[in-house]
Symmetry: C2
Subunit: 518 residues, 2 copies
């Protein structure tokens, strides 16, 4: 006997719409937090910090109340148990799933723990800044220990909610849904092996790029114009009356915003113009991802990036696969010289391209080249995995860090400011975050393989300054899917294969073979 | 028989503290709205407008929910009827009064109306910008009509709550508490009469300032430096690591913020440096008012300016009474010439001071001289009073506007961008706002009379670049009182007399007598 589902389906849709109205409010509050953070980093007068922390605190509180409201709990149980549940389409089910996940996680964390973590986080970041300036890990240690203990407590709770194998896996899941430390360990092993081979080939190669030629003095005002030109190339509009972006200057570059208002920042070093060149392309890659999300999904949980790893795949794709390619510079090099009063007119195009692709093990992650970069990540992953598993203590960090940098990269760390204290992530309580940087690179390699099949002439397009075809491909293959799939499913859907490090290694090896002539 | 009030007073204080905690949350939400508005006017990418209106709408909704919460209603009735009510001090009673006033007004406004108004406001401002650029009132008209209808609806509701004689009076009360259109009409009559006399004296005077000498080309980057110098003179910190202010550029200058984060904007016209000079002093006057509020009253209802009129008294005091005085320019003229590569080195100090005080009827309010300025306000007052009373329609605005400008100021409006669309106020839904500009001037005249008595040598101080004594006087007499008194009470408390237009007219007449040699 067939049951008429029209009436129940209508009732369900009405509950679903109510849930989506709640989701919209939560997302808009998030976008306001985002604006307040952007302003704090870019424009806020220094004295405004106390008022700003009050503003951020109240916004967090409102968001938490909204996310954990009993109305949402009731709607979720009604929808999930609903007789007509199967009448929801894939998109609607995903929205419900994402709301449920958020609700479960947020309601299980005791408010006391959340508040205490936020407080300790601010304190630890503040101490980190001071300790980093003072090059004194012992200053940082006690605060980091407190914050780590709080994150471990949260991880234990989240492990049960998310049903992960370890507490660390529960933290990874925050940034890269359903990714596990076991999968990461396996793929990072393969990645490391491949990278070490390439690094050795470069080290013994006959040709050596001259990276020092990049150190030319270009005034920040000119670098600004170059940034605008780069933004125009990737179709990230920061100037027209319809612009949905803007570029400002901060100590550390970042991307902020959503859909029609996505802003990036960069840092202009007068004697190192390459720094802002590539940070603008990197953040621009993040920005166009956010801007190209399906406009129909605005203010819905699916209308977000798929994961931090996928976000990073887009930024690294634009920064490296496009931005460090010979094709791009064939197009852009004359423009650069035009804008920068021929600052590089004595440098041949190929020498410039080689210089921006130099492979050289170094101490600082954010300054690392494409090939050695992931080794910095692997070190951090290995350390934080053991840290959360209580296998190592905060006190051991400097020693372990320095040893790994010696073993993996062959560099000797002189002090903890250029060592274990170089990044803000652990001071912010972000454990499980670092692996996503390397995952992004791996995804980008897989995407490149697929792009080559779909648009065999993509490099010719870039050479003539046409990024729009590649952008369209990225939009259709990545951006438009938003958060409809977990990253593991998304990469398979796009490329037909699971997470695979070989395409990325192949890309690097081919590039280095040309750069180093091996 | 004496009643022991200790226990009831303690219970009352506990309710009062709960009420103040609610007040704090509401004020912080207000400060977030303020930030979102500032960003919208200064930094937001154009495409962000829709997202911004959603953000502003949800903040309005949250603010409305907080303001009208039943907890506040309950606390207010408990406190007002409390046996120990008289144990509250004047400050506490004022806080309760202000919360009650807000609660009564807001509970009567339907949430739908509030949210819809916020949304329409953002859209109307956006349309106003486009229509103004296009010099096309017909573009602006439909959005303005929608917004006006919403404001009229609110005015009718507020009239009952506030027990005002007309809906328009209820709107005036938002900006200038307890001021009425009848009082304004009366005092504006006296003001107009006095101004017309002065204008006539100037027009027939033997000496004429040469305002054209002000039209010197000064690059915006230099004007920026001059702005910073002016900010420093009035002790408005925009540069140090402890700065609580900043200066940005917008089409129309404004002040935004509260206590430790107060931002001003200006507009740099390359060939008219005087424009930004005086807008920086004007907005700076607003800014120091906000920054000098009693720090103990932060996040309390009393920790606000007394009214828009009082706010304007401070901006006009700094812009005109200080900023257009011979004393100030004795100090600042060499600095100006130093910063601006001697742009005015061929102009004698007195000729410069005469030029910046030229009296000449003109079309644009924000560019009007001190004497004709209030006629612009009187025109707007007369028009909006009739607009809210349904005596004229939006469609009639251009014609009525242009006729009044002809009649009152003798100028012919060529298009609506220099006419009825010149100001943002009506596009923002601010009706009842314009009169406060003239009230501010009137208050500033009364304050000047008192300052002369209290600090007879104030002009000598300004002449040596010392504004700090006057600032201290303003702080003690105006800023520190915050919103403790209604404006009518405050002006009486400071000067010993009620609202009186004569001191302002006397100040203008004396100044013009010197400028024009009559």
């Amino acid at each position: 006997m067939a049951i008429n589902m029209a009436e129940p389906a209508k009732a369900l849709k009405s509950d679903y719409d109510l849930l989506m109205a709640k989701a919209k409010d939560i997302i808009i509050i998030g976008s306001i937090q985002s604006l307040a953070s952007w302003d704090m980093e870019t424009k806020m007068p220094p004295k405004g910090i106390k008022q700003r922390s009050q503003q951020l605190a109240i916004l967090s509180q409102i968001e938490h109340q909204m996310t954990t409201s009993s109305e949402i709990g009731t709607l979720l149980s009604k929808i999930e148990k609903h007789v007509a549940y199967e009448t929801l389409n894939e998109l609607q089910k995903r929205n419900v799933y994402l709301m449920k996940k958020q609700y479960d996680e947020q309601t299980k964390l005791p408010e006391k723990l959340v508040v205490e973590t936020a407080r300790q986080q601010a304190l630890t970041i503040d101490t980190w800044k001071k300790a980093k300036t003072a090059k004194d890990f012992s200053m940082f240690k006690p605060e980091l220990e407190k914050l780590l203990a709080l994150r471990k407590e949260a991880a234990k709770i989240l492990m049960k909610v998310k049903e992960t194998r370890t507490p660390y896996d529960a933290l990874i899941d925050i940034f890269e849904p359903r990714m596990t430390s076991e999968m990461i360990a396996k793929i990072f092993g393969e990645l490391r092996e491949g990278l070490v081979k390439i690094i050795k080939k470069c080290a013994t190669a006959p040709e050596k790029p001259q990276a020092s030629i990049l150190m030319r003095k270009i005034p920040p005002s000119v670098q600004q114009k170059i940034s605008n030109e780069l933004a125009q190339f990737i179709d990230y509009d920061v100037k027209s009356p319809k612009a949905g972006g803007r570029i400002d200057e901060t100590e550390h570059p970042f991307t902020n915003g959503y859909y029609d208002d996505v802003r990036i920042t960069t840092h202009y070093y007068e004697n190192n113009p390459a720094s802002s060149l590539f940070s603008v392309l990197h953040e621009g890659g993040h920005a166009i991802y956010e801007q190209n999300l399906n406009p129909e999904w605005l203010y819905q949980p699916v209308g977000m990036g798929a994961s931090l790893g996928f976000h990073e795949s887009q930024s690294r794709f634009v920064e490296n696969i496009i931005g460090r390619s010979r094709e791009f510079w064939t197009y852009f090099y004359p423009k650069l010289n035009l804008l920068a009063s021929n600052a590089f007119s004595d440098v041949a195009l190929d020498d410039f391209v080689r210089a921006i692709n130099q492979v050289k093990p170094s101490k600082i992650r954010v300054e690392a080249d494409e090939v050695t970069y992931c080794l910095h990540i692997i070190i951090r992953f290995e350390i934080e995995r053991e840290l959360i598993a209580n296998k190592i203590a905060v006190a051991d960090l400097p020693e372990i860090w320095n040893r790994k940098y010696h073993d993996y990269l062959g560099v000797e760390i002189q002090n903890d400011s250029e060592g274990v204290m170089q990044d803000i992530h652990w001071a912010s309580g972000y454990y499980g975050y670092f692996p996503t940087y390397a995952l992004g690179n791996i995804y980008s390699g897989q995407l490149l393989t697929k792009l080559r099949k779909d648009i065999p002439i993509w490099q010719d397009q870039i050479r003539t300054g046409d990024f729009l075809q590649v952008k369209k491909w990225l939009t259709e293959n990545v951006h438009q899917h938003g958060n409809l799939y977990d990253p593991a499913d998304l990469i398979k859907r796009i490329t037909g294969e699971s997470l695979n490090v070989q395409p990325y290694l192949k890309y690097l090896d081919e590039k280095c073979a040309w750069i180093y002539g091996y």
